[in-house]
């Protein structure tokens, strides 16, 4: 599913990385705990999080996430946006809560990162 489609489904705002919207996302994971993200994250993951500080962008860069979607209307701070632009990580922000954002993406066919590993 393209990021553009995901943006529509989640009625999300693009914070940065508009030029990446036609790229594909194949799986996702969600957590506010960056240590958990470091433990389960796989390259190419769509990361949903409610943690809007700078560490969420750093973590996304370390695990090579495809994109970060902030839930509940959160947005990264200026430092985070600057890093996301530098590293080419598109950032979306949705007003939906975590549960609904995950539920929508899952029901429309985006599997969880753990399911992807199981299929390998």
């Amino acid at each position: 599913m393209t990021l553009r489609k995901i943006k529509e489904i989640l009625q999300a705002e693009v914070i940065c990385g508009e030029e990446h919207l036609d790229e594909d996302v194949k799986f996702a994971g969600a957590s506010d705990l960056m240590s958990d993200v470091l433990a389960f994250g796989q390259p190419g993951i769509l990361l949903l999080t409610g943690l809007s500080n700078f560490q969420s962008v750093r973590t996304a860069n370390i695990i090579e996430a495809k994109t970060v979607v902030y839930v509940r209307g959160k947005k990264p701070d200026k430092q985070g946006i600057k890093m996301a632009i530098e590293k080419g990580i598109p950032i979306l922000s949705t007003k939906l809560m975590m549960y609904k954002a995950c539920g929508l993406l899952y029901s429309l066919g985006i599997p969880g990162v753990d399911e992807l590993q199981g299929k390998k």
Binding site: M34, S35, V37, N53, R58, T59, E64
Partner: protein, 150 residues
């Protein structure tokens, strides 16, 4: 950065304790260095995660510390040494979910008690030693040729 005759690259990075605004900058830099050298991306990712968790531990718990990155033709090695409270019970600290983190650390998305276990998972070799009241030292090794692992 130093490059010796034996093709060994070594660089040290200072980590400042409790400076959350800069937390993660050392491991981001380390990742860039590994990418510049052209190391396999899967190994870079594992190395970056291990370095990041180790750096966050220093930022969260210690007064200051140092990460020394050494790259040889065979391996990547991180020595992460800190001056801090040390760890009383290493076996307990290694358990997933065990944490002594404060609310401030948790607000940063860390302190879930996954750090040391995560480092061990991503390293080929991992050693930890600690003296309560003085500090903690981590030795983290990743082999560039995974066939040479053991």
């Amino acid at each position: 950065m130093m490059m010796s005759a034996e093709n060994v690259l070594s660089q040290s990075f200072e980590i400042i304790g409790r400076d959350f605004s800069r937390a993660g900058s050392v491991s981001t830099k380390v990742k860039e260095i590994l990418q510049e050298i052209g190391i396999d991306s899967i190994i870079i990712r594992r190395a970056a995660i291990a370095a990041y968790e180790a750096e966050m531990n220093v930022v969260m718990y210690a007064n200051r510390g140092e990460l020394i990155l050494t790259i040889t033709p065979k391996k990547i090695h991180f020595k992460v040494e800190d001056k801090g409270p040390g760890i009383e019970d290493i076996e307990l600290a290694m358990q997933e979910g065990y944490s002594t983190a404060t609310d401030e650390m948790r607000e940063m998305g860390f302190g879930a008690g996954m750090g040391l276990a995560n480092i061990k998972k991503n390293a080929d070799q991992f050693e930890i030693s600690s003296t309560p009241g003085l500090g903690t030292t981590l030795d983290i090794t990743l082999y560039l040729n995974q066939a040479e692992k053991r």
